[in-house]
């Protein structure tokens, strides 16, 4: 049986404006199981966002193949939802309209059931009272929650998150992490979660993929064997620190790992 998601020997080469070419990913292979939560960490520019865009179907790999549900990814699919680094809500729509926006944008009309669903999702991310607020009136954390609700509207099987909490302060960042785990628990999904924060990666995921500097290769694949549900107490555990320092060593001294 084919794996749920698989990257098979992916290489990605971009051409620069000056005509030279740039190798962003080199021979990257890994699988993701159904309802698995996988985090990707690595230095800036190592191709993390590129991985995500490959799986979303927005980008075709130069070499290799990405498959989803056993089929090659050739174009964007409804089963995939994306949460961006910045919430990028539409400033002229209120919270509710922002969350139903994917349906309006895709089909041109929004049914009562869609609104119903959007309200449920907004309730779930804890913003039930803010349906008719404009994005400008909401804090960064609230906006990002709406971004998550928007990504969940079409009930995607796979959730792609590109440094979704990096614009938040440390406190709301941690809170949002636990919030995400709660949502993931309520509606299990396959998650590919990109982050710069080692702590966040270990705290949230089942598995951490560590990448090297450009050209990005996969350095290590670390199973995080910590009990769920994870809480603030998980951070105190000794194994948590072992995982964190292992990853830190891999990122800062990549030549030892190779």
């Amino acid at each position: 049986m084919k794996p749920y998601v698989s990257f098979e020997q992916i290489s990605q080469v971009f051409s620069r404006p000056d005509g030279s070419s740039l190798m962003a990913l080199k021979d990257v292979s890994f699988d993701i199981g159904r309802h698995e939560f996988v985090a990707v960490v690595g230095p800036s520019g190592c191709g993390k966002s590129t991985l995500l865009r490959l799986l979303s179907g927005l980008l075709r790999p130069t070499r290799g193949q990405v498959t989803l549900f056993g089929q090659p990814v050739t174009e964007p699919r409804d089963e995939v939802g994306i949460v961006f680094q910045k919430p990028t809500l539409l400033p002229w729509l209120n919270a509710l309209e922002n969350v139903v926006f994917p349906v309006r944008h895709k089909t041109g009309r929004v049914s009562r059931a869609d609104y119903e669903r959007a309200r449920e999702l907004i309730e779930m991310v804890g913003l039930g009272d803010f349906c008719d607020r404009m994005p400008g009136e909401l804090s960064g954390g609230m906006q990002q929650r709406l971004g998550i609700a928007r990504a969940l509207l079409l009930d995607p099987e796979v959730l792609l998150m590109d440094e979704p909490f990096s614009a938040l302060d440390a406190l709301s960042r941690e809170e949002m992490g636990f919030e995400l785990l709660r949502i993931w628990n309520e509606r299990p999904k396959t998650v590919l979660f990109i982050t710069h924060s080692i702590t966040e990666a270990v705290l949230l995921s089942d598995r951490v993929l560590v990448m090297s500097e450009r050209p990005g290769t996969l350095v290590e694949n670390i199973e995080i064997d910590l009990p769920r549900p994870r809480t603030a107490a998980s951070i105190q555990e000794e194994r948590f620190h072992e995982y964190s320092s292992q990853i830190r060593d891999l990122i800062y001294r990549p030549h030892y790992a190779a």
């Binding site: 995939v80 539409l90 400008g136």
Partner: protein
């Protein structure tokens, strides 16, 4: 010295006792009415400067003389001139919008169009319209049409630029969202790019509406028997300098009102576009 002054203002700010509230409300009033007060003192200085210096009327008439010249002309005549200029300026402005938006959309959608059209637009923009205006009148005759065309030629460029930069400044994430939903390209324009361009568009409109007045006046300078521009030119050629100044001020006032009107429309229809949220 400096620090002393600073700490003094700080301490008064912090305490804000009741006896200061009168003074501070006067200060508030002053700061609110600052533009008006500046204008008034400018007019006063002008008036007394003219009187004391005995400046001849044909060089620089005093404000009181200009006001007298203004009231000397009957209201109906003013309205006739106003209507003539306004009609051309507003029609030119609206047609500019109607032409510029599709052009901008085309240039955002297609690299080919933007590469071929943009240079052409820049050429049109950099041609001195005052030099072309007589030609246009010769070719198209003396009706409203050539005047509207002159107005359009002068006012469309800022709208095209505002619309294209506005649409191009849409966050790339939203374009990716649109693509990941496999939405129709027309929806990307209507539901994402154009609304995103609204703040830019209105800055463009504000420039364009004042340029429209200029366009209408230029056209009247070349050939007209009505209009505020014609009135100013006609008065000058008969050495009715106070009357020319009256026409000039009337023109500025019309420009200002139109500018404010654009601002008002933006505030009414797109209130969200005034307070830019931090996210972009």
């Amino acid at each position: 010295m400096n620090t002393q002054v600073k700490s003094e203002t700080l301490s008064t700010d912090r305490t804000m006792p009741p006896e200061h509230s009168l003074r501070s409300s006067v200060a508030l009033l002053l700061s609110r009415q600052a533009p008006l007060l500046t204008l008034l003192s400018f007019l006063l200085a002008w008036e007394f400067g003219c009187r004391l210096g005995a400046v001849p009327e044909y060089l620089l008439p005093a404000p009181s003389v200009i006001l007298a010249a203004f009231t000397d002309v009957e209201a109906v005549r003013w309205l006739g001139h106003l209507w003539s200029t306004l009609r051309v300026a507003l029609l030119g402005f609206l047609i500019s919008i109607a032409v510029s938006l599709p052009l901008a959309v085309g240039m955002v959608r297609s690299r080919y169009l933007s590469r071929t059209l943009y240079p052409a637009l820049v050429v049109i923009q950099s041609t001195p319209i005052v030099a072309v205006a007589p030609l246009i009148i010769v070719i198209l005759g003396t009706g409203d049409a050539p005047r509207i065309l002159i107005t359009c030629l002068i006012s469309f460029f800022p709208i095209v630029v505002a619309a294209t930069t506005g649409m191009m400044s849409t966050p790339p994430e939203l374009i990716e969202l649109s693509r990941s939903l496999k939405a129709r390209p027309s929806r990307e324009i209507w539901q994402i790019r154009l609304p995103y361009a609204v703040p830019h568009l209105f800055s463009g409109f504000k420039v364009a509406i004042t340029l429209s007045i200029i366009g209408a006046v230029v056209a009247e300078f070349v050939a007209a028997e009505q209009g505020l521009g014609y009135f100013v030119q006609f008065s000058t050629s008969y050495f009715k300098i106070p009357q020319a100044f009256a026409g000039l001020f009337f023109l500025s006032a019309v420009s200002l009102v139109l500018f404010k009107l654009v601002q008002f429309v933006q505030k009414r229809l797109f209130p969200w576009s005034l307070s830019e949220p931090k996210q972009h």
